[in-house]
């Protein structure tokens, strides 16, 4: 019993200590000329959908949930955002070469089609981000159209 008590205390102290290691926030507040929405003529409903469903992890601005202030949840989010941006950053769209744009669009279509994106771990806490069948169809239709233009 004494042993368990020590473990409990260590865990509690660890939990408190890690709160002092917050993450750098993914926030920039500037609208970039290189952004997907600026480069393409995106219909308003698609624009809103992408911003709600994708931009938290695939742009330079994240709308942080309350639990991001609590570690290790914040670290977990930071990791996701870092990976997400490395894969695809909508804010940097026009910096991608034409070949990469096509590649990215193809990947977007595949991922949305198969339901891999937006991720389940994300939509669990962000119900609005879920793409229902109509929204999915609209996004896929739009992305397929852009592939032909690029």
């Amino acid at each position: 019993m004494k042993f368990l008590k020590i473990i409990a205390w260590v865990a509690l102290i660890a939990l408190i200590v890690i709160q002092f290691f917050p993450v750098d926030k993914n926030e920039s507040y500037t609208t970039l000329e290189t952004d997907f929405m600026m480069v393409n003529k995106v219909p308003l409903d698609i624009e809103n959908q992408l911003k709600v469903s994708c931009y938290d992890c695939h742009s330079n601005n994240t709308a942080y949930p309350w639990y991001s202030k609590i570690q290790p949840a914040g670290w977990f989010l930071e990791n996701h955002i870092k990976e997400g941006k490395a894969e695809l950053n909508f804010n940097e769209w026009s910096n991608y070469s034409d070949r990469r744009k096509k590649s990215k669009l193809r990947s977007i279509i595949k991922q949305v089609e198969s339901g891999e994106m937006p991720m389940n771990s994300y939509t669990l806490m962000h119900q609005r981000a879920i793409l229902d069948s109509l929204a999915t169809e609209k996004v896929l239709h739009y992305m397929s159209k852009i592939i032909l233009e690029n």
Partner: protein, 196 residues
């Protein structure tokens, strides 16, 4: 009752701690990986300095060799081997140097290499279905690369109308072995073009 409560509380805290520790480990691994890549690249760069322009084609050939090995692994439905070879290919793509080509070719080649590297890296960490999706675009990249760099080997561009609305790939053999289906439809496809 008090003991039970305390035990449950302790367990919850311990779980949190384990989670934290495992999260940290994940970060560490990630931080370490790119570093080793850089080092690998550096040593490769050193090699180039010794024999400047002559090995330009050698590098394209090395990329092709890795691409064909990767293709063979996909033909064999070997997810693990394809992961390994995806990583090998990513390294030889990164070692490619377009500086001896004309400006137009250079920018085209750099775009190709950048895109291909990303696909090769994805292949090194995906399940086989994803590997094949990435291999499709990778094949297009490599085909476009060869159109600029040329190659000493005779190549066959093969085409399978069934995979993802029609998909091509490169092979050194005329005989069709399909990397997108592997054993489930090994012979699907035909030669649509000969290169060289």
């Amino acid at each position: 009752m008090k003991t039970v409560k305390r035990t449950i509380g302790t367990m919850a805290l311990a779980a949190t701690m384990i989670l934290t520790v495992s999260c940290k480990d994940g970060n560490k691994e990630e931080a370490a990986a790119p570093m080793s890549n850089e080092m690998h690249q550096e040593s490769m760069d050193d090699k180039d300095d010794m024999a400047m322009s002559d090995n330009q084609d050698v590098k394209a050939e090395a990329i092709l060799k890795d691409y064909f090995n990767l293709k063979d692994a996909l033909v064999d439905d070997d997810n693990g081997k394809a992961k390994e070879l995806g990583n090998t290919l990513a390294q030889s793509l990164k070692a490619f140097d377009a500086s001896d080509y004309s400006d137009n070719e250079k920018s085209e080649l750099n775009d190709i290499i950048e895109d291909a590297t990303e696909h090769a890296e994805h292949i090194s960490e995906s399940d086989i279905a994803h590997q094949r999706e990435h291999f499709k675009v990778l094949s297009k990249d490599i085909t476009d690369m060869v159109a600029i760099t040329g190659t000493a080997t005779k190549l066959y561009e093969q085409y399978c109308p069934m995979y993802d609305g029609g998909t091509a790939w490169l092979s050194k053999e005329e005989n069709v072995l399909n990397p997108y289906y592997g054993s489930s439809m090994l012979r699907c496809g035909k030669v649509q073009r000969e290169i060289n």
